[in-house]
């Protein structure tokens, strides 16, 4: 059974980025393979922020890096502005890579400790930017200023002289100097305190408005992802479970895994009732030998024999809401009669594998 379907893809002329049947596998010896990303499809329109959520190891970072061809995906295509990046030779790809930039989780260690901030931010310009140092510095200073760092004061300092939040601002400035069309943010606020996290999220929103940026925003915190994203894709063990406009997804999750994530999210509100009965939920299966059919079935309370046999395909729930599940929690467009509406079903007992 191929991927999880593409019913959720929009016409290619309306999107900046499109991933189709993206597959990334890592050989780990003995003929075994880690199925990190297995045939997922998604698209991002210009100026849009797509959030990617899911548990550790579900393939979020691998997906982000595959867009940059780091490493080249095992299968599928990545189309940016109608050019399939997977078909470019490595020289052309290096050139195109300036269109896409990446920001990482650990702001301090992602900056070279021995170089000055001026050099670090100018680095992407060395190869593809203007040749005159003064012209380079003009761009660097403008970007540092845009992220709230005093350019002259920072120019000759090194990363350890800055806090985690400031280092993340510097990483963002470095990502911006090439005026990329797309920025992939891999857990950019996960290592930061909540007050600094808010500063960086606000900064990204402002930069997006000013520079018309398109973002793929990877995070495991559901509230952070909802805050910044226009649409959110939920991943589980290398597969896509659900994709929807953010407010819609949180208001009516259709995939049992999405609902599990939401029920687990610790909302800072003492009025939220929590179900304390859930103390075990089985272990995450190995990505070397993922379950047949629906990969979530070993932890899904709704799993039945069909889920073991047949992989669910993406189906439309409504306008901009798609789910890959045989028994979605919200009625699906294409089989309204068969869909089970079970919003009150408790998610406590894990099904036997």
């Amino acid at each position: 059974m191929a991927g999880s379907g593409k019913a959720h893809l929009r016409p290619s002329e309306s999107v900046l980025l499109r991933a189709e049947d993206l597959t990334v596998e890592f050989p780990v010896g003995g003929g075994r393979v880690v199925h990190a990303v297995s045939g997922i499809s998604f698209d991002v329109a210009k100026g849009e922020t797509l959030g990617l959520v899911g548990e550790s190891g579900c393939g979020k970072s691998t997906t982000g890096r595959a867009i940059l061809q780091l490493p080249r995906p095992t299968g599928g295509s990545i189309t940016l502005n109608d050019v399939d990046l997977t078909r470019l030779d490595s020289g052309t790809m290096r050139q195109r890579r300036t269109d896409v930039q990446m920001i990482f989780q650990d702001p301090i260690s992602s900056l070279n400790p021995r170089r000055t901030i001026g050099d670090i931010v100018a680095e992407p310009l060395q190869v593809w930017g203007p040749k005159r140092p003064d012209d380079q510095w003009d761009i660097v200073a403008r970007m540092l200023d845009a992220v709230g760092i005093d350019p002259e004061a920072a120019r000759r300092k090194r990363p350890h002289e800055f806090s985690g939040g400031q280092c993340q601002r510097i990483s963002i400035a470095r990502a911006l100097v090439m005026e990329p069309e797309l920025i992939i943010c891999d857990e950019p606020v996960s290592a930061l305190d909540v007050s600094v996290q808010a500063q960086i999220l606000n900064l990204l929103e402002d930069l997006k408005a000013q520079h018309g940026l398109t973002l793929v925003f990877i995070a495991h915190d559901l509230a952070v992802v909802k805050n910044i994203s226009d649409r959110v894709a939920v991943m589980y063990l290398g597969k896509m479970c659900e994709l929807a406009e953010s407010d819609e997804l949180y208001a009516s999750p259709a995939h049992p895994y999405t609902r599990l994530l939401m029920e687990s999210h610790p909302e800072p509100d003492p009025g939220v009732a929590i179900d304390e009965s859930m103390t075990e939920l089985g272990e995450l299966p190995s990505p070397i030998a993922p379950p047949s059919g629906c990969r979530f079935r070993t932890r899904c309370p709704l799993a039945d024999e069909r889920c073991a046999r047949e992989e669910p395909q993406m189906r439309r729930v409504n306008d901009d809401h798609y789910v890959a599940c045989h028994h979605p929690l919200v009625a699906v467009d294409d089989d309204l009669s068969a869909a089970s509406r079970q919003p009150t079903l408790p998610l406590t007992a894990p099904a036997t594998a």
């Binding site: 550790s56 909540v194 606000n202 805050n227 029920e263 509100d269 003492p270 009965s277 103390t279 272990e283």
Partner: protein, 377 residues
């Protein structure tokens, strides 16, 4: 060094039912450039069988506070003063040998990184049986049975088989369960959990917190749950203490803290956290600046450089943690949120163009869920 303050428990509300009474506890670290005042005058009383949540940002002193109470601050440059009454006996000034005698049956700790308490090269089963034999002097086969029981009590499936695993064979959540099993083995009366789920996925975090709540209730344990995440304690702790720069700035029963917070830092913290109940792109109210240098903190209120309500008095005079009008609600602020004085302070700062006040005002204008500066979340 032991200095017992004679000032009594400031705002601690000590009662006979308290298992722990902490008074003016300070832990300073001597470093070449001065003293790092990591914990600087903390007082609270903890009733038996309840859970206290301690929240604060990184570096606010949460870990040093719990380690100081447990006598785990063995760093040569650490100086702890003040008083910790545990079940009526003073702990400050005890030797580490005397403190060790309390670890296990009286108090135990769960750390953020399970590998802090697990030996990576010893099978999990042996680590458990050694623990059981050390504390109870049981024979080998009884210890094994007890260890399997322990693993089952923390809901580890196929417990007998898991005994032969090394820690690296287990997931992070599984390892944390093993640590909980070890911590609970001697039925401690007081359990410290320092960011026990920070390194785990939300689904696993949810299960581990459920497990801890269940065990806490079943054993009528007293618990201190330390976290940087207000969401973690919102539904798990009876009371919450908010720490900032080595001090408790506000402490209240959990619902009161969220609905009627009085300290501007508590309010700023809540306003800066995104919630799933908010619409996408809700403007977050970030807290300006950074926490103070703990070697040379500013005089007066430590939050003043970042506080949207700060007045001259705040910069001159340090506010003390005092009882508010509500039961068990204490805060340390000259212009508490929700009072007319606070409103006036805000308006004055707005008029004079204090940057952090302007930022907050801008954010409030952009948000529909906060109507008034006296509001909570």
């Amino acid at each position: 060094m032991t200095v017992t303050s004679d000032a009594g428990v400031a705002g601690g509300g000590s009662r006979a039912g308290d298992l722990l009474v902490v008074d003016d506890l300070r832990t300073h670290f001597r470093v070449p450039t001065g003293d790092v005042k990591a914990v600087d005058g903390v007082s609270f009383a903890l009733p038996r069988g309840t859970t206290l949540g301690i929240v604060g940002e990184s570096g606010s002193g949460k870990t040093v506070l719990s380690r100081s109470i447990m006598g785990l601050n063995t760093a040569g440059n650490a100086v702890t003063t003040g008083s910790v009454l545990y079940d009526g006996t003073e702990l400050i000034g005890r030797s580490s040998k005397e403190m060790k005698a309390l670890w296990g049956a009286e108090m135990a700790m769960i750390f953020q990184d399970p590998m802090t308490s697990l030996n990576p090269v010893v099978k999990v089963g042996r680590q458990l049986t050694e623990h059981v034999r050390f504390h109870f002097g049981t024979n080998r086969s009884d210890a094994r049975a007890a260890a399997i029981d322990m693993l089952q009590s923390v809901r580890i499936p196929e417990a007998a088989e898991r005994m032969d695993n090394y820690p690296h064979h287990m997931s992070g959540g599984m390892r944390q369960r093993v640590c909980i099993a070890i911590a609970l083995a001697c039925s401690p009366k007081l359990l410290f959990a320092d960011e026990p789920t920070t390194a785990l996925d939300v689904t696993v975090q949810h299960q581990i917190l459920n497990l801890l709540s269940q065990q806490q209730r079943e054993r009528a344990m007293t618990m201190i749950l330390v976290t940087h995440d207000l969401g973690v304690v919102a539904t798990r702790a009876a009371e919450i203490a908010v720490m900032y720069a080595g001090k408790i700035v506000e402490k209240a029963p959990t619902p009161v803290l969220f609905a009627e917070m009085r300290h501007p830092y508590t309010q700023s913290l809540l306003w800066s956290i995104p919630k799933t109940s908010q619409p996408k792109h809700t403007r977050l109210s970030a807290i300006a600046g950074r926490p103070p240098d703990l070697i040379n903190p500013p005089p007066g209120c430590k939050f003043a450089p970042r506080c949207p309500y700060a007045q001259q008095r705040c910069r001159d005079e340090e506010p003390q943690l005092v009882d508010g009008p509500g039961a068990r609600h204490q805060f340390a602020c000259h212009f508490p949120v929700g009072t007319p004085e606070n409103r006036e302070a805000f308006d004055r700062n707005l008029a004079s163009g204090l940057p952090q006040t302007l930022t907050v005002a801008g954010c409030l204008a952009a948000r529909e869920d906060i109507v008034e500066i006296g509001d909570g979340a």
